[in-house]
């Protein structure tokens, strides 16, 4: 194990460049540890984002050696090539400074995809009973662990090529709600996710499913939405 890592870090906004730092190699070191070391020991002006450090909050995503990853759960041993790391902000999002991106459009698209739950019961009603083995519940389960890190969004070429494309995370959210039998807004939601800004622009490149740190497969939900839109259109519900 080499004693020093050679780390190139993006500095600036969209216009900017990589600055090199030498960071001591440690056992069980994560990429987030490396970034933190640089900020605490070498250059306090480096901006980056993190909170939980255990893969729950989704705030630490960055581009590591060209691939979007959650840095708090990415060990250096897995990604460093010849003791070298290149760390950049996520693609497809405006850069605020250094490694921090502006996530506003990412979350706005969740809202556009009708990502909010709206049920018909109030807290005075009894619990809704959802059969754990039902098809819908299983489909929703597959997508429900999303932590909103933006890795799928940053990895998707369709987001780059079609700026109004809702993106994998928002569509995955729409799919989980489409399978929530308590939800009441499904017609509205299917309309919101149909067409070129929605599920029909996905070309099954699969980058979202390959890169999702939670092993969610947004491609599955998007394909499901394509089928659901077709079914509802045939039934004349759209």
């Amino acid at each position: 194990m080499s004693t020093n890592l050679e780390v190139k870090v993006w500095r600036g906004r969209e216009q900017g460049g990589f600055t090199s730092y030498k960071v001591p190699r440690r056992d069980s070191q994560t990429v987030l540890d490396v970034v933190t070391y640089i900020q605490r020991q070498l250059d306090p002006t480096l901006s980056y984002r993190f909170a939980c450090r255990v893969g729950m909050c989704g705030s630490c995503a960055m581009t590591v050696n060209g691939v979007a990853r959650w840095t708090c759960r990415t060990s250096v041993a897995k990604v460093a090539v010849d003791g070298k790391l290149e760390i950049a902000p996520l693609a497809n999002l405006p850069v605020i400074k250094d490694l921090t991106t502006d996530m506003v459009e990412f979350f706005d698209k969740w809202a556009q995809a009708k990502g909010q739950f709206k049920g018909r019961h109030s807290r005075h009603d009894d619990f809704a009973r959802v059969e754990p083995t039902s098809r819908e519940r299983i489909a929703a389960n597959a997508g429900i662990e999303c932590i909103g890190c933006g890795i799928c969004y940053a990895s998707c070429d369709i987001v780059t090529w079609r700026p109004n494309f809702l993106g994998p995370a928002a569509l995955n959210r729409a799919w989980t709600l489409a399978n929530d039998v308590r939800d009441t807004r499904w017609v509205e939601r299917l309309r919101a996710v149909a067409g070129d800004a929605g599920c029909h622009s996905c070309h099954t490149q699969g980058s979202c499913s390959e890169r999702c740190p939670k092993r969610i497969e947004p491609t599955a939900g998007i394909a499901g939405l394509k089928r659901l839109v077709a079914k509802s259109a045939i039934r004349g519900e759209l």
């Binding site: 581009t63 497809n92 780059t160 099954t204 490149q205 699969g206 499913s209 390959e210 599955a220 089928r227």
Partner: protein
């Protein structure tokens, strides 16, 4: 302006399958009118069609045709994979189909080459 990904973000089988599908589709779309125009010479009778066939009977054309057969086979099998993913219950990115499509493309290319020289 935002930062864009480079090839490193795209280096996985499902993305390569996408690229092959798009580029083969584009090549076939360009070739199609040419193909129709050539066969359309039959409307002017057998001699006209023979004239065109004679013109295309050279190695460069044969190689091009061989390429088109392979592209057609790849686009076919890649397309079937997409239809399976989109219309059947989810079972992953079906990477086995990517390998299968490649095998089918090679097989179609070999069959065409063999038929040419026989």
């Amino acid at each position: 302006m935002k930062r864009n990904n480079d090839f490193r973000a795209r280096a996985h089988p499902a993305y390569w399958a996408f690229l092959v599908h798009r580029i083969s589709g584009l090549a076939l779309a360009v070739f199609l009118p040419l193909h129709f125009w050539l066969l359309g010479q039959a409307i002017h009778g057998e001699a006209a069609l023979d004239g065109i066939l004679g013109f295309t009977d050279r190695t460069a054309f044969r190689f091009g045709e061989w390429g088109l057969v392979v592209l057609l086979a790849l686009h076919l099998m890649g397309g079937v994979r997409l239809l399976l993913i989109e219309f059947l219950p989810w079972s992953g990115l079906r990477k086995n189909w990517i390998a299968g499509a490649l095998g089918f493309g090679v097989a179609a290319g070999l069959a065409f080459a063999l038929a040419l020289i026989s």
